[in-house]
């Protein structure tokens, strides 16, 4: 059995107060192992993004506990949570969120610089090898505005992978892409998952993408409706 890297215990997230109170997540218990390729699915408003945000420590649960390799994270302050994200987590966003003034290679280098890596040559070499892995070697010196949506998302994946995170959280990574490109992106993520044993957790509406996931967690009204592990 693979190592458990992340566990959520009785996690509840409530937005607002009184009459405006919205329960985004309710009593979520989940465990993730190293190397999983899991999808979170469900209709809009079911709590997919909230779940990913809490796992990525971008948001904190109202109740319940999140543990990283057995260590509880409840008492961490903003700076400690930033350090957790810096060391263990990467993100792929629906709208790519590349930094427009940086080239492809520089965007990919960014997490390494934030991490505090100093060796410029090593940083560039590592970034270029990841850029090559996502098939954009010839675009390394281009700016995001010169790329197609699919290419931008590949850069975002490269950026997420460059620092060798334990887990990549992807919030609807294919929502802005056509079905063919979306398929390619998910296949790429799956390949990398198999190759590097990086855990991938992504939210999606797309049934074809769900088919590629090893595990599908279905949310409805903030609660886990199903948690199925499959073969792919």
């Amino acid at each position: 059995m693979a190592e458990i890297i992340l566990s959520l215990s009785d996690v509840t997230k409530i937005y607002g107060k009184g009459e405006t109170e919205v329960i985004a997540l309710k009593d979520i218990d989940l465990v993730f192992e190293q190397g999983e390729f899991a999808a979170v699915v469900g209709p809009s408003g079911s709590g997919k993004t909230t779940l990913l945000n809490i796992i990525g420590c971008l948001d904190s649960p109202t109740r319940g506990e999140l543990s990283w390799r057995g260590a509880p994270m409840k008492s961490m302050n903003r700076t400690q949570l930033a350090a957790y994200r810096r060391m263990h987590v990467s993100f792929v966003f629906q709208s790519y969120n590349l930094i427009p003034v940086l080239t492809v290679a520089e965007n990919v280098e960014m997490p390494l610089l934030i991490e505090g890596m100093h060796d410029r040559t090593a940083i560039r070499e590592r970034a270029l090898s990841i850029v090559e892995m996502v098939g954009l070697s010839d675009k390394a010196n281009r700016y995001p505005t010169e790329l197609s949506g699919g290419q931008e998302q590949r850069v975002a994946i490269a950026r997420a992978l460059v620092k060798k995170p334990s887990i990549v959280l992807a919030d609807e990574p294919t929502a802005n892409l056509d079905s063919h490109t979306a398929g390619e992106i998910i296949k790429l993520m799956r390949e990398i998952n198999e190759k590097t044993q990086t855990t991938f957790l992504f939210s999606t509406h797309d049934p074809r993408i769900m088919e590629l996931a090893q595990r599908v967690i279905t949310l409805r009204d903030g609660q886990i409706e199903r948690d199925e592990r499959g073969a792919p």
Binding site: F91, L113, G116
Partner: protein
């Protein structure tokens, strides 16, 4: 490990360069303000220099020894034993100092038709040249010699006399009687101070003795100490030497150039404060601009802040990133100001501004006629204005930077 300051600096620099026009417009206010401040300070220093130098060169030297309590312009109180004092000066003054004695007294000068009051200076013709530059202003004729006097250009015009003309000089003697001598106009001096040009008459000690009686009382011993490159140093050196002389000779008063020009120097400090008020106003305007620019930059990059935070940039680093951006704009603006200021000062020091024609025959008090103010290099003004510029920019960016560091990551990532 986390991102080092150099990484934050690189990201900040990229962002500053990303909006070149915005950065340039913000920085340009700072540039112009700092350049004007530096130029203003240079001009003020140049004006001070020309004023003090004129006083030293033509009126009182760096230090003037007089009898205590005497008003040098209106009472002629003789210094007791001037020779004994002069003999001790070499041991008390900085090396390279020179001195001369003068007798200053009021006279009436007549061209035999009209008569006008004048201020006579009995001088040691050769020694006087070591302290004063009066002899070099003689535009026609020659410097003082027995029976030949030098008079100011405006006084000559007033009396309608030329070189070689005879004039009568009348003085009131200590017993109240009058005595007069006849002198030839040996030289006409275009003296830079209006008061001297209109009133001064220079004559030899022998002629003065013939006029007021021997031995000629000495009313002042004027000293020139070696020049200092900076005015403040010169004034300080003159004050220190004067203080040492007063201690050594309790029976005389040593008036330093700083003391002689006390009113002027007080006004100078006021002018300097005014220059600071100008720079504070400019910096405040710049601060508003930088505040606005950093705030705009923050709002236009909220999603980017979200991404950086998601990837582990902590709130303190985000704050540093934005304050660095403000500081960088400050550095660009201030460096531009210092460079532009240096160009202005170079122009001022090499060409100067001629104010003479601007005032015509107006008496400018301590300022010379044909006033040409040349700028002075003042490294402190460069350092101060650059530092203030950067500091104010940094301070102005702190509030928007703090705001950026407090943005919730999830909200920032949702921001459209």
């Amino acid at each position: 490990m986390k991102a080092s300051s150099s990484v934050l600096f690189r990201i900040a620099a990229r962002n500053v360069l990303r909006h070149r026009r915005r950065t340039l417009i913000t920085a340009i206010v700072l540039t112009v303000g700092i350049a004007v401040f530096i130029m203003f300070q240079s001009l003020l220093a140049g004006m001070d220099r020309v004023t003090i130098d004129t006083a030293i060169d033509y009126d009182s030297g760096s230090i003037s020894l007089r009898s205590p309590g005497s008003d040098p312009l209106f009472k002629n109180i003789a210094i007791k034993e001037p020779k004994a004092i002069k003999d001790r000066l070499p041991a008390l003054l900085p090396k390279g100092s020179t001195w001369t004695q003068r007798t200053r007294f009021y006279v009436q000068v007549s061209n035999w038709i009209d008569e006008t009051p004048a201020l006579a200076f009995a001088v040691e013709p050769e020694k006087d040249k070591e302290v004063f530059k009066t002899s070099s202003t003689v535009q026609s004729g020659a410097w003082v010699s027995p029976a030949k006097a030098v008079i100011g250009l405006d006084l000559a015009k007033d009396l309608g006399v030329r070189i070689g003309d005879l004039i009568a000089v009348t003085a009131i003697l200590p017993d109240g009687s009058l005595n007069a001598i006849e002198l030839e106009v040996g030289g006409i001096a275009d003296l830079p101070l209006f008061s001297l040009s209109q009133q001064a008459i220079y004559l030899s000690a022998q002629d003065a003795e013939a006029l007021v009686g021997a031995p000629l009382p000495v009313t002042e011993i004027d000293i020139r100490i070696p020049p200092a490159s900076r005015l403040d140093t010169l004034v300080a050196q003159s004050d220190a030497a004067a203080s040492a002389l007063e201690k050594a000779f309790s029976v005389i008063e040593a008036m330093s150039i700083g003391e002689a020009m006390r009113d002027y120097l007080a006004m100078r400090n006021m002018k300097s404060k005014f220059a600071y008020i100008v720079v504070v106003i400019v910096l405040l305007i710049s601060a508003v601009g930088i505040f606005n620019t950093v705030l705009m930059s923050m709002y236009s990059r909220i999603r980017e802040i979200g991404v950086l935070a998601a990837y582990g940039l902590d709130p303190g680093q985000i704050k540093r990133l934005f304050s660095l951006e403000g500081m960088l704009i400050g550095i660009i603006g201030s460096a531009g100001g210092v460079l532009l200021g240096a160009v202005f000062v170079w122009w001022l020091t090499s060409r100067g501004i001629a104010f003479g024609g601007m005032f015509g025959n107006l008496d400018l008090g301590n300022l010379p006629k044909n006033l040409l103010i040349k700028g002075e290099w003042n490294p402190l003004a460069f350092i101060q204005s650059f530092s203030f510029g950067v500091l104010v920019s940094w301070l102005a960016s702190l509030m928007p930077a703090r705001k950026a560091s407090h943005i919730e990551v999830t909200e920032a990532l949702r921001f459209v």
